[in-house]
């Protein structure tokens, strides 16, 4: 690893100022699990790391009935996995976290770092997008909010400017009669990054689907909604046939590549199956939530 300056700002504003001063030569250091590996491999050679770990305003998980669940950028995967509040409001996140990487990475890696790294092999992003989550971003020009899907531009590339810091994720309260499911598929070891990960969220009006979110991860440069699959599920009840049809559509809406986790052809087939299963499960949960 090449040497670098280690800077420890006390506030987000200070951190942004340092990033601006270094003009793209500095990297934000949150959990550090992503950035240290890439630095050891020589893929990143920043002249400085801006350690934001001690900034209190980036920590903590809170719930506000109007705003929803707020997850600070520095919340670790393990905190999310074991939080009683998250388990009560969005248990799907705790279930998904159980399978993210391994216990050491979950102890170290943060939610904000996971998003800001632009890593294409994701779990959380699909769930956040399916829940219509928003990201709050702070920079020298003030605060802005974007949809989670709009963060991702390309492989390891996000829409964050070099002097901006992602401060928190906000998940609005789910409307009545909603259900969500996330399924991750690993083609090798369980602790490997996923081969594909699919989130489906449905909100019903009586028996018919009013809002559908079908979000595909790991099968393209960024996590992305399968909008044609969503349209095919909307306006009617879900049956095993319609779920399978949506899966087929979604499998054509992604752009997987051949790699050690499977061929593109194989991944498309997996996506089809995961969308079908997740849609049926989300539908079941949405119907149960009515009671």
């Amino acid at each position: 690893m090449k040497n670098f300056d280690y800077l420890e700002p006390a506030t987000v504003a200070e951190a942004c100022a340092l990033l601006k001063e270094r003009g793209g030569e500095a990297k934000v250091f949150a959990g550090g699990s992503h950035v240290t590996i890439l630095m050891k491999q020589g893929l990143y050679q920043p002249t400085a790391l801006v350690n934001i770990k001690k900034i209190a305003e980036l920590k903590g998980i809170r719930f506000d009935p109007a705003e929803g669940l707020s997850i600070g950028a520095l919340v670790t995967h393990r905190e999310l996995e074991t939080s009683a509040l998250v388990k009560e409001k969005f248990p799907v996140l705790c279930e998904a976290e159980r399978e993210v990487a391994n216990i050491r990475v979950r102890n170290m890696g943060t939610v904000g770092g996971n998003l800001a790294s632009g890593e294409p092999l994701t779990d959380l992003s699909q769930i956040f997008i399916a829940l219509d989550g928003k990201l709050e971003i702070l920079g020298p020009n003030g605060r802005r909010a974007i949809g989670v899907e709009d963060l991702f531009v390309d492989f390891y590339t996000t829409s964050l400017a070099e002097d901006e810091i992602l401060t928190r994720v906000v998940l609005p309260p789910l409307p009545a009669q909603s259900g969500i499911d996330y399924i991750r598929f690993s083609s090798s070891s369980v602790v490997d990054k996923p081969c594909a990960g699919v989130a489906v969220r449905l909100t019903l009006d009586q028996k018919a689907v009013q809002v559908a979110r079908v979000v595909l991860g790991c099968v393209g440069p960024t996590p992305a909604r399968a909008r044609r699959a969503e349209a095919s599920l909307t306006g009617k009840p879900i049956s095993p046939e319609s779920a399978a049809a949506a899966g087929k559509i979604a499998s054509q809406e992604c752009s997987p590549t051949d790699d050690l986790r499977g061929s593109a052809h194989y991944k498309r087939a997996i996506v089809g199956t995961l969308v079908k299963r997740a849609a049926l499960k989300a539908y079941e949960r949405a119907q149960e939530s009515k009671k």
Binding site: G32, T36, I103
Partner: protein, 154 residues
């Protein structure tokens, strides 16, 4: 360029002058002579470099030493009570839960963190917790038995 840090290692106050790029694994092995934690994959996958930081398992290969300033580190060398081995160490011997031993310190420390968090974990909880530690000699069944044995006596 170097910065002075102080941290608690195996219960003792230690200090060091470190460059920001020094990893926690390099610090404990090369400056403190604690060679129980091993360098394996170097990408946080195998678990051979596991140490406990404030009681939680982390990959020392990818943790910056400078970031451990003011914190508490436990390596395998600090686990026994002088000559009295920790129950996990005894159980690993009893069940033959190692062959070459390269992964052992990582497995034992991860298992310790597990048992500190859940005194009586289910078999599935043990498997989930230890899934990120690799044993290339394939002693997984024996490791599982050893951890179960210790938790059953707790």
């Amino acid at each position: 360029m170097k910065k002075a840090i102080s941290l608690k290692v195996n219960g003792m106050e230690r200090s060091a002058e470190v460059e920001p790029r020094l990893t926690l694994l390099e610090l404990v092995r090369e400056q403190f002579g604690l060679t129980g934690a091993k360098l394996g994959c170097d990408i946080q996958v195998c678990g051979a470099c596991t140490v406990l930081l404030d009681g939680k398992p982390v990959s020392a290969c990818s943790f910056l030493a400078i970031d451990a300033d003011g914190r508490e580190v436990l390596t395998i060398e600090g686990l026994s009570d002088k000559d009295k081995l920790h129950p996990l160490q005894e159980a690993f011997m009893e069940f033959g839960a190692l062959q070459c031993g390269y992964c052992t310190s990582g497995f034992i420390l991860t298992a310790k963190a597990l048992l500190d968090e859940f005194a009586h974990p289910s078999e599935q909880q043990i498997k989930d917790y230890l899934a990120g530690n690799f044993c290339r000699c394939g002693c997984y069944q024996e490791i599982l038995q050893a951890v179960k044995e210790v938790s059953s006596k707790a």
